[in-house]
C-alpha cells in the first residue's frame, strides 16, 4: 500500500502549504521534521481528511482520498491518528477507548493494548490515571484499533520523559514495520526523527526542502536548512556564481546540483584554532571574536562570529579555552559541506 500525494496545496490566510509531492511506502515510516509552524501538522490533517485541500490529489493504494471534485470524509478513510495532545477521551477507560475506536471485541482490544505495551492492570484506568508514557501507548493502541490503512503520528513522544522514549520508539518502529500501512510521523525533535525514520522529509514554511534516507541526509545534507536543523551546522554564505565560489575561509568548488545560492555548512569539527603562521591559499585563517563557549559531550565548543554568522569551533583536548570577547584565528580542519540555500534541493 503506497500513499501518493501530488501537488497538494492548502491555503488558510496567512498560511500556505505546498504545493508539495510525497510518497510513503507501506511498512515504512516517513518522518516529517521541521520547525513549529512549518505545516507538518496541517499536512497530517489533510491526509486524514480533517481539512480539505485547495488543490492536488491524495491517493492511498487504489483509493483516491481527495482530488478534483473528490473528497473522502475522515470517517471513511480508515486512518489511525495519534494527536499531538493525544485527545484521549477523559471519561473512557483504556479498554473502552480501543473498543470504541476499533469496534473490536474485548479480547482483540486487550491484545492490541498489550502489543502497544500497556500492561493488563492498566486497561481499566481512565486517561487521567495513566502516566505520560502509558497514555502515549494507549493513544497508539487506539490509533491502530481500526486496522488503519494509514497511520499518522503527530509529535507522538512530545510529552514523554526522556528515559521512557527508547521503549516507545522501539514500539513505534515495530508497529510501523509489521503492518502493510504507511506510517507518517511528525516531529521537530532531531534525535527522535533520526531514530524513527526510514525516510526523512525536511519541511519549513509549508514547503518540503529535502528528502531522503535519514543516514544520507545526516551525512550529506544538500540544503542549508537541513544542515542547520539536523546537524546544527553553522552556515557561511559563498559569494559569486559558477562552479568556484569564495568566502573569508577560502574558495570552494560548488557541485552541479546546487541551483542558485550556495553556502558552507560548518560543523564544529570542521573548524579549528590556527596559529598566526598557518593558513594560506584555499584554506585561509581568519581572525574572529569569541562570542561564547560551552562544554558538551564532544568537548569545549567556542562560538565565534564570522561576518555576522555564528559558527562553532571544537577545541582540541589540551588547547587553552579563550574567554568571550577575545580574538582567535580559525581555519578549516577538513573539507566542508557545500549546500544550497534557497528552493527545494533535488
Amino acid at each position: 500500500m503506497t500513499l501518493r500525494v501530488s501537488a497538494l496545496r492548502f491555503e488558510r490566510d496567512p498560511f500556505t502549504l505546498g504545493p508539495l509531492d510525497l510518497e510513503a511506502q507501506g511498512g515504512r515510516m516517513v518522518v516529517l521534521i521541521g520547525p513549529s509552524g512549518g505545516g507538518k501538522t496541517t499536512l497530517l490533517r489533510l491526509l486524514a481528511g480533517l481539512e480539505a485541500p485547495n488543490a492536488g490529489t491524495v491517493t492511498l493504494g487504489d483509493t483516491l482520498f481527495s482530488g478534483p471534485s473528490v473528497f473522502v470524509p475522515a470517517a471513511e478513510r480508515h486512518v489511525g491518528f495519534v494527536f499531538q495532545g493525544l485527545a484521549l477521551w477523559p471519561h473512557m477507560n483504556a479498554l473502552a477507548q480501543v473498543r470504541f475506536a476499533g469496534r473490536s471485541r474485548k479480547k482483540d482490544a486487550t491484545e492490541l493494548l498489550l502489543r502497544a505495551g500497556l500492561p493488563a492492570a492498566l486497561h481499566k484506568r481512565l486517561p487521567g490515571e495513566l502516566s505520560g508514557g502509558e497514555a502515549q501507548r494507549l493513544a497508539i493502541a487506539r490509533a491502530l484499533a481500526g486496522r488503519p490503512r494509514l497511520l499518522l503520528l503527530d509529535e507522538p513522544l512530545r510529552s514523554v520523559d526522556p528515559h521512557l522514549r527508547d521503549g516507545l520508539q522501539r514500539t513505534l518502529r515495530a508497529l510501523a514495520h509489521e503492518g502493510e500501512h504507511p506510517t507518517i510521523c511528525v516531529t521537530h525533535d532531531r534525535e527522535e526523527a533520526l531514530v524513527l525514520a526510514d525516510d526523512l522529509i525536511v519541511m519549513a514554511e509549508g514547503r518540503i526542502l529535502e528528502r531522503g534516507q535519514a543516514s544520507e541526509l545526516c551525512r550529506k545534507p544538500k540544503h542549508a536548512f537541513t544542515a542547520r536543523f539536523l546537524l546544527r551546522a553553522g552556515i557561511l554564505p559563498l559569494q559569486g556564481l559558477g562552479t568556484k565560489r569564495g568566502c573569508p575561509l577560502g574558495s570552494f568548488s560548488v557541485p552541479e546540483w546546487v541551483k542558485g545560492e550556495a553556502a558552507l555548512a560548518l560543523l564544529p569539527g570542521d573548524l579549528k584554532l590556527s596559529q598566526p603562521s598557518q593558513g594560506s591559499g584555499t584554506n585561509k585563517a581568519v581572525l574572529v571574536p569569541v562570542l561564547d563557549r560551552h562544554f558538551d559531550e564532544r568537548g569545549w565548543l567556542l562560538e565565534v562570529d564570522l561576518k555576522g554568522q555564528a559558527l562553532s569551533v571544537l577545541l582540541q583536548p589540551n588547547e587553552p579555552i579563550p574567554d568571550p570577547g577575545m580574538q582567535v584565528r580559525i581555519q578549516l580542519s577538513r573539507p566542508p559541506l557545500v549546500v544550497q540555500t534557497n528552493g527545494e534541493s533535488a
Binding site: 470517517a75 486512518v79 491518528f81 495532545g85 493525544l86 485527545a87 477521551w89 470504541f100 469496534r103
Partner: protein, 527 residues
C-alpha cells in the same frame, strides 16, 4: 444534516416560546384600543411616578447587586483563593440561598426584625441572589492559570499580581453582578411585601404588574403603557448583557486537554477566623435564618398559644393531607421545566459554541425581559383565541414553557461554555474511527456534557421553584407553592406556610442530594 434539522426545529421552538410572545406584546402596544396609536410610547417616563419607580428600581437593583457581589464574590474569593478551613464545603454552601424563594427570606427576616426600608430589601434580595455572584466569581478564579499569576507576582510584586487577577476575573464578576441585577429588577414580591408591611416605595416591576392586573381589557391603553414603560430598563439590561457576553469571550479558554495549574492559595494566618465568619454569612442569612423561622412558624410561633412540637407536627400533617397535591404539582412542574430547559438549551448551546455564536446573544433576550413582562407576553400570545397555542392556555404546558424560556439563557450559557471546553480533537478522534454523528454524541460529547446538563437541569428546577412572577401571572401557576407562600403575606396561615416552605426547600435540595449520593459530587455549572 440530521443534527442541523434538529437544531433548526429547536431554534424555531425557542422563537415561538420566547421571541414571538415578546414581539406580539411589542406590536400590540401600538394598537391599544384596536387601532394604531403611539399614545403609550409617548408617555414613557412622562409622569413623575414613573420616573420615581424607575429610580427606585435602579437604586434598589444597584444596592442589592453591591451586597450580592460583596457577599457572593467575597465568599468565592476566600473559598477559592485562600487556605480557609472547610473551603470545599463552604464554597458550595454559598449557593444554598437559592433553595428558598426570596419572599420566604424576606418573611423570615421580617419575623425577626422590624427594620424595613431600602437597605433591608436590598440586603435581602442581595443575599437571595448572591449565589450567582459567588458561582461566577468562583468560575472566573478557577479558570485562571496559576502560572500567569505567579509570573506577575515574581515580576511586579503582590499588588500588581492581585490587580492582574482582578482583571482576569472581572468579566465573570460583572456577569454575576448583572445576573443579580436582572433578577432583582424583576422581583416584585419582596418590595411588595415590605410595601404591604410599611408603605415605603414602589418599584418598576410592581408598577408593571399593577398596570397589567388593573381592571380593563388586556389590550387597553393602560396595559400598553405597562409594556412601553419597561422599554428603558429592557434596553439597559439588554445592552449590559451583550457587553458582558463579549467581555467574557475575550478571556482565555481552559479546555479539558489544556495544561493547567490552579491558582496558588494565600495563607490567611490570623485572618482565618474572620474569613470563616465571613464565609458563613451567606448560609446563615440565606438558608439557616429562613429554615429556622419557617420551622418556628410551623410550630405556631405566630399564634397566641406559643411554640410546640405538637403544632409543628400538626402543620406538617396538614400540608401532607391538604397541600401535598400542590407540592407535588410544584416539584413536577419545576422538574419538567428543568428537563425542557436542557432539551432546548443543549443543541442551541452546541451550535453557539461550535458554529453560530450569535445564538448566545439571541438566547439572552428572555433574561433581559423582566419576568413579569415575559409572563404578560406569554398570556397575551397563548390567550389569543385565533392562535392554536390558546388550546394550552390553561394547561401546565404554558407554565412549563414559561419557566424553561425564562431560564433558557442560563442553560445556553452554561452548556455553551462546557461545549467550548471540549477540544475539537476529541470529536476528530471519534470521526477518524469511522463513528457516525449519533454514536459520537452518545459516546463522546454526550457523556462529557452530561455533568453540566445535570447542573443546568438542577438550576432550572430550583429557579422554577422560587420563581414568583410567572406563577402569579400565568393561570396554571395558581397552585404553585411559591404563590401560596406569597399569599401568606395577605391571608395569614403562617403555620402551614412555614411547613410548606420547609418542604419546598427540601424538595429543591432533592436533586442535589441525589447527585451527591450517586456521584459523590455536588457538581457545578459554569454560567
Amino acid at each position: 444534516m440530521q443534527g442541523s434539522k434538529t437544531f433548526w426545529i429547536l431554534l424555531g421552538l425557542f422563537v415561538i416560546l420566547a421571541i414571538l410572545p415578546l414581539l406580539y406584546l411589542f406590536f400590540g402596544s401600538f394598537f391599544p384600543e384596536g387601532s394604531f396609536s403611539m399614545e403609550a410610547w409617548r408617555k414613557i417616563l412622562s409622569t413623575h411616578t414613573e420616573r420615581i419607580q424607575l429610580l427606585h428600581s435602579a437604586v434598589l437593583g444597584g444596592l442589592a447587586t453591591l451586597f450580592a457581589v460583596l457577599l457572593g464574590g467575597g465568599t468565592a474569593w476566600v473559598t477559592e483563593r485562600t487556605d480557609l478551613p472547610f473551603a470545599r464545603v463552604l464554597g458550595p454552601m454559598a449557593l444554598l440561598p437559592l433553595l428558598f424563594p426570596p419572599i420566604v427570606v424576606a418573611m423570615s427576616f421580617a419575623d425577626l426584625s422590624t427594620a424595613t426600608g431600602l437597605p433591608v430589601v436590598a440586603l435581602l434580595l442581595g443575599v437571595s441572589h448572591a449565589p450567582f455572584a459567588a458561582a461566577l466569581t468562583a468560575r472566573g478564579l478557577r479558570s485562571i492559570d496559576g502560572r500567569l499569576y505567579e509570573s506577575t507576582l515574581l515580576a511586579r510584586g503582590r499588588l500588581r499580581a492581585e490587580l492582574f487577577l482582578f482583571r482576569q476575573c472581572v468579566a465573570d464578576l460583572l456577569a454575576g453582578a448583572l445576573l443579580v441585577l436582572v433578577f432583582v429588577l424583576s422581583n416584585h414580591g419582596v418590595p411588595e411585601f415590605f410595601s404591604v408591611k410599611k408603605k415605603t416605595w414602589f418599584v418598576y416591576s410592581e408598577a408593571v404588574f399593577l398596570r397589567w392586573s388593573a381592571p380593563g381589557k388586556p389590550g387597553s391603553l393602560r396595559a400598553a403603557e405597562a409594556i412601553a414603560s419597561s422599554a428603558p430598563l429592557l434596553l439597559f439590561i439588554g445592552v449590559a448583557l451583550l457587553v458582558c457576553l463579549r467581555a467574557r469571550r475575550k478571556g482565555t479558554l481552559v479546555t479539558m486537554a489544556s495544561d493547567f495549574r490552579p491558582l496558588p492559595r494565600r495563607i490567611l494566618g490570623r485572618g482565618k477566623v474572620f474569613a470563616l465568619g465571613f464565609a458563613l454569612i451567606l448560609p446563615l442569612l440565606g438558608i439557616l435564618m429562613p429554615l429556622w423561622r419557617m420551622l418556628l412558624w410551623s410550630a405556631g410561633s405566630t399564634a397566641n398559644f406559643g411554640v410546640s412540637m405538637h403544632t409543628a407536627i400538626g402543620s406538617f400533617r396538614r400540608v401532607a393531607t391538604e397541600l401535598m397535591g400542590d407540592l407535588g404539582y410544584t416539584l413536577g412542574m419545576a422538574a419538567l421545566a428543568g428537563g425542557l430547559l436542557v432539551f432546548i438549551a443543549l443543541p442551541l448551546a452546541w451550535e453557539a459554541a461550535k458554529r453560530r455564536p450569535w445564538i448566545e446573544a439571541l438566547s439572552l433576550i428572555p433574561l433581559a425581559v423582566p419576568g413579569i413582562l415575559l409572563g404578560v407576553a406569554l398570556v397575551r400570545l397563548w390567550n389569543d383565541p385565533h392562535l392554536p397555542l390558546s388550546r394550552f392556555y390553561d394547561t401546565p404546558v404554558l407554565l412549563i414553557s414559561g419557566y424553561a424560556t425564562r431560564f433558557l439563557p442560563l442553560g445556553v450559557l452554561a452548556l455553551a461554555n462546557a461545549a467550548r471546553r471540549l477540544p475539537t480533537s476529541f470529536d476528530e478522534a471519534a470521526r477518524l474511527s469511522g463513528r457516525g454523528p449519533i454514536m459520537r454524541w452518545l459516546k463522546i460529547q454526550g457523556p462529557l456534557l452530561l455533568p453540566t446538563a445535570v447542573s443546568v437541569f438542577i438550576l432550572g428546577y430550583i429557579l422554577s421553584l422560587r420563581e414568583l412572577d410567572l406563577a402569579v401571572i400565568l393561570p396554571p401557576g395558581n397552585d404553585m407553592v411559591s404563590r401560596r407562600l406569597a399569599n401568606i403575606v395577605h391571608f395569614g396561615n403562617e403555620d402551614v406556610g412555614g411547613a410548606l416552605a420547609v418542604l419546598l426547600a427540601l424538595g429543591a435540595a432533592l436533586p442535589i442530594m441525589m447527585r451527591i449520593l450517586l456521584t459523590g459530587k455536588a457538581g457545578r455549572a459554569d454560567l
